[in-house]
């Protein structure tokens, strides 16, 4: 009882404090996970996300004259903590949520929609949220898992000269909702292209994958794809190296695509491929500004050592998309202090072409983005990146290519229709 009263008093006090800080600024919450089993992936993303906002504040004086207030909240990749973070920050006028976990995203889909706050699940979360008619407040541009699966298969097609009949592919996946995402798409594509598909589930956390890799070694599939996360990535790549699987035939999704995943395997990981939806490395003009205004000014979120890593770039890209959407919203509504509903409109009208990207200091960093009322999934484009162990760097080896729309679109329509029926949502007219 005493504890409860104490909790009550302190929480009330600290909430009052929190509310005092955020007044007229544009509030962007960052649901980061710098602790727990997935921290190695969460830290660079959160740093990139924060640093870009800091850059906009320091260099441009905010968005359209409005300073950005970044509220970081630690989720530890845990759904309940994520809910706590959402509830504690939404009252401060949070403009858009980047939940950064499958579990939290699924939580927020109904909640945020009811609260009228947009959610940007960039390359994760519920794939069929790409259908803006059903998911009015959820955005997953520029690509989703089904796009990723299709683009990986396209890349394999290119490697094999356009014919996959009689070939065998294997998918090593994290045994969770996230890992199971690409299975439907890969099965549909198997019907179309005539390859055989082997599914290999790895249970959380995935430190022991000997069975799976022995099976791969026995069956010798022509290509192995991976939907992994956390420690599973490092172990899978290490095991692939151990069984001397040809690394350039091993392709991961964009969450199995960071430096963290390949470095522990050392030289052997050379040639490992992964799909990505944005550029890699720090060879972009914007890094000069980030170094000048953020890192050298001592305002960086991290220690500055992960600038240019894949996940840092992804966090920065996410922040850039959020800032551009806020700018669009300001133009549409003619006010600088936008609210979440206006932010949603801005996200829905977001258009970024190569000229704009170059202006922002990120030439050729990602595909053109053109979000519409019906399409919240963006272009659905991705490129393949490859690891070079000698120089410890990734490089894009293909252009950004689109996915197989004739396979993906019906799947999205089907799944979103099921969601709409289950939740009594009448699709909007677009």
């Amino acid at each position: 009882m005493n504890l409860k009263t104490l909790t009550t008093a302190t929480v009330a006090a600290s909430m009052a404090l929190g509310a005092g800080i955020a007044s007229a600024d544009l509030t962007f919450p960052s649901l980061s996970y710098r602790t727990g089993p997935y921290a190695p992936n969460g830290i660079p993303f959160a740093d990139g996300y924060a640093d870009y906002f800091t850059l906009i504040n320091e260099r441009d004086g905010g968005i359209g004259g409005e300073m950005i207030n970044l509220v970081e909240c630690e989720t530890g990749y845990n759904t309940e903590k994520g809910v706590e973070c959402y509830e504690s920050t939404k009252g401060q006028g949070s403009l858009v949520y980047q939940p950064l976990s499958t579990g939290i995203t699924y939580q927020l889909i109904p909640k945020a929609t009811a609260d009228g706050i947009p959610v940007h699940s960039m390359g994760y979360g519920r794939t069929s949220a790409a259908n803006g008619k059903v998911f009015s407040n959820i955005f997953n541009y520029p690509g989703n898992y089904w796009d990723a699966a299709s683009i990986i298969v396209k890349h394999i097609l290119d490697q094999e000269g356009g014919d996959l009949s009689g070939k065998s592919l294997a998918l090593v996946y994290h045994n969770s909702a996230y890992g199971k995402e690409p299975i439907r798409t890969l099965e549909e594509l198997a019907k179309k292209h005539g390859y055989s598909l082997t599914l290999l589930a790895v249970d959380h956390p995935g430190q022991e994958q000997k069975s799976q890799w022995l099976q791969i070694r026995r069956e010798r599939p022509d290509y192995v794809m991976m939907w992994g996360w956390g420690v599973m990535n490092q172990v899978a790549i290490q095991e692939a190296v151990n069984i001397r699987y040809p690394m350039d035939h091993f392709i991961g999704v964009w969450w199995s695509a960071s430096e963290n995943d390949v470095i522990p395997a050392g030289e052997g990981a050379n040639g490992y491929k992964a799909i990505n939806f944005h550029g890699v490395g720090d060879g972009f003009p914007i890094y000069d500004d980030i170094r000048k205004y953020v890192v050298d000014a001592g305002k960086a979120a991290g220690d500055g050592s992960n600038l240019g890593t894949v996940l840092y770039n992804r966090g920065m890209y996410a922040a850039m998309l959020a800032v551009e959407a806020a700018r669009t919203a300001q133009e549409i509504h003619g006010v600088s202090a936008i609210n979440p509903a206006q932010m949603r409109d801005g996200m829905e009208a977001l258009k970024i072409d190569q000229a704009r990207m170059a202006e922002l200091g990120l030439p050729d960093f990602g595909p053109d983005i053109n979000v519409t009322c019906a399409n919240h999934g963006g272009p659905g484009e991705g490129a393949i990146q490859q690891w070079d162990a000698a120089s410890q760097s990734w490089s894009l080896i293909t252009d950004f290519v689109g996915s197989d729309r004739e396979v993906i679109d019906p799947l999205i329509a089907e799944d979103s229709a099921a969601f709409a029926a289950e939740n009594n949502i009448t699709p909007r007219d677009c």
């Binding site: 710098r34 602790t35 727990g36 089993p37 921290a39 190695p40 830290i43 045994n175 599914l199 290999l200 589930a201 790895v202 249970d203 956390p205 430190q207 022991e208 000997k210 069975s211 799976q212 022995l214 099976q215 070694r217 026995r218 010798r220 956390g230 420690v231 490092q234 172990v235 290490q238 190296v241 151990n242 069984i243 001397r244 963290n260 470095i263 522990p264 050392g266 052997g268 001592g298 220690d303």
Partner: protein, 333 residues
């Protein structure tokens, strides 16, 4: 031999190797349980903490760099080039001994004669504490651990086994990871050393006396406290070995503490109080789960290893409720 037979042998062989890796973790639990009746939940975190400390020394990280920098606005990360692996291992051991002493001094000493579940809970508190402390000291990012052990499939074994296949069949030879072989070797050495230590040294005998009967040991003048510090230090050392072996595969990161979960069925199967039990239990679990995944797994969707280990342990327990090597439970009213 036909490829099916060879494949089965390969699976069994790799299951044995995996089993040894499980046993390495389980050993630490057994040591502490035997000497003090404590089920040490913190053993997994201990492995993580040891591995983190080792990497920290190796690469010359400044402990608590993040806290120091955040508090004083400084920018410290490394204090030099790091140090030689052997020296780093020795220093890590020193840290583990210090930790054992502190645990005894600050926690266990005050909980003498409590029920097992209370002691279990205390180790949970310790686990939370070390988890936070480890991350505060060394940071939560992933670290590469390289102590110079070889890894990768063995070519020699592949070539040898390739000739075993029947004429005309396609067979690539058997796979075995060199690192696993090393781990098995180290485990054997570890068990031999531990046995010798407990049989032929004074401390070792005192240790066994305490394990047999606390009160009797006290009456003949053995200091329980010293013994506990020794046992926790040894468990810390075993944790370090397990941390190195598992960390070499995945890099050192938070998930390393989860390996404790893989040791639970091993412990229960082998009995909490028996070192050979931990080894045999590990081997049975390793082979059992690999064979099941190989033979039945594909039919029911795979990823069966986690629960099958427990079902297997449960099956054995139905016949021997005290574990394979556990002390017989005698019940009296």
């Amino acid at each position: 031999m036909s490829p099916v037979v060879l494949n089965t042998i390969e699976v069994i062989l790799n299951g044995l190797m995996t089993g040894v890796m499980y046993s390495l973790v389980a050993l630490g639990f057994v040591l502490i349980f035997k000497a003090s009746g404590i089920f040490n939940y913190a053993q997994g975190v201990l492995a993580l903490f040891a591995a983190l400390t080792l990497v920290g020394f190796q690469t010359g990280q400044v402990p608590f760099a993040h806290v120091i920098n955040a508090t004083f606005g400084t920018d410290y990360h490394h204090w030099g080039e790091g140090m030689n692996t052997v020296l780093a291992i020795l220093l890590t051991m020193a840290v583990m001994v210090l930790l054992a002493w502190l645990v005894e001094r600050l926690v266990l000493r005050h909980l003498v004669n409590q029920e097992p579940i209370i002691l279990f809970m205390a180790t949970i508190g310790l686990a939370f504490f070390l988890e936070g402390l480890g991350d505060l000291m060394w940071g939560a990012n992933i670290k590469v651990l390289d102590v110079g052990l070889p890894s990768g499939g063995s070519f020699w074994w592949e070539d040898v086994t390739r000739t075993w296949a029947a004429e005309g069949t396609e067979y690539w030879g058997m796979y075995i990871d060199v690192l696993d072989v090393w781990a098995a070797g180290i485990a054997v050495v570890l068990v031999v050393v531990l046995t010798l230590f407990s049989q032929y040294t004074e401390t070792g005998r005192a240790l066994r006396a305490v394990a047999d009967d606390h009160q009797a040991a006290l009456t003949v003048g053995i200091s329980l406290r010293t013994i506990w510090v020794v046992v926790w230090s040894i468990a810390g050392f075993v944790a370090l070995v397990a941390g190195i072996m598992w960390g070499a595969k995945s890099g050192v990161q938070f998930s390393l503490s989860l390996i404790a979960l893989k040791a639970l069925p091993v412990l229960i199967l082998g009995g909490f109080t028996s070192i050979p039990g931990a080894i045999v239990g590990g081997l049975i679990i390793g082979v059992g789960e690999k064979l099941f995944e190989f033979a039945i797994g594909p039919m029911i969707g795979g990823a069966t290893e986690n629960w099958f280990a427990y079902v297997l342990a449960l099956f054995f327990l139905m016949f021997r409720p005290q574990g394979l090597f556990g002390e017989r439970i005698i019940e009296r009213v």
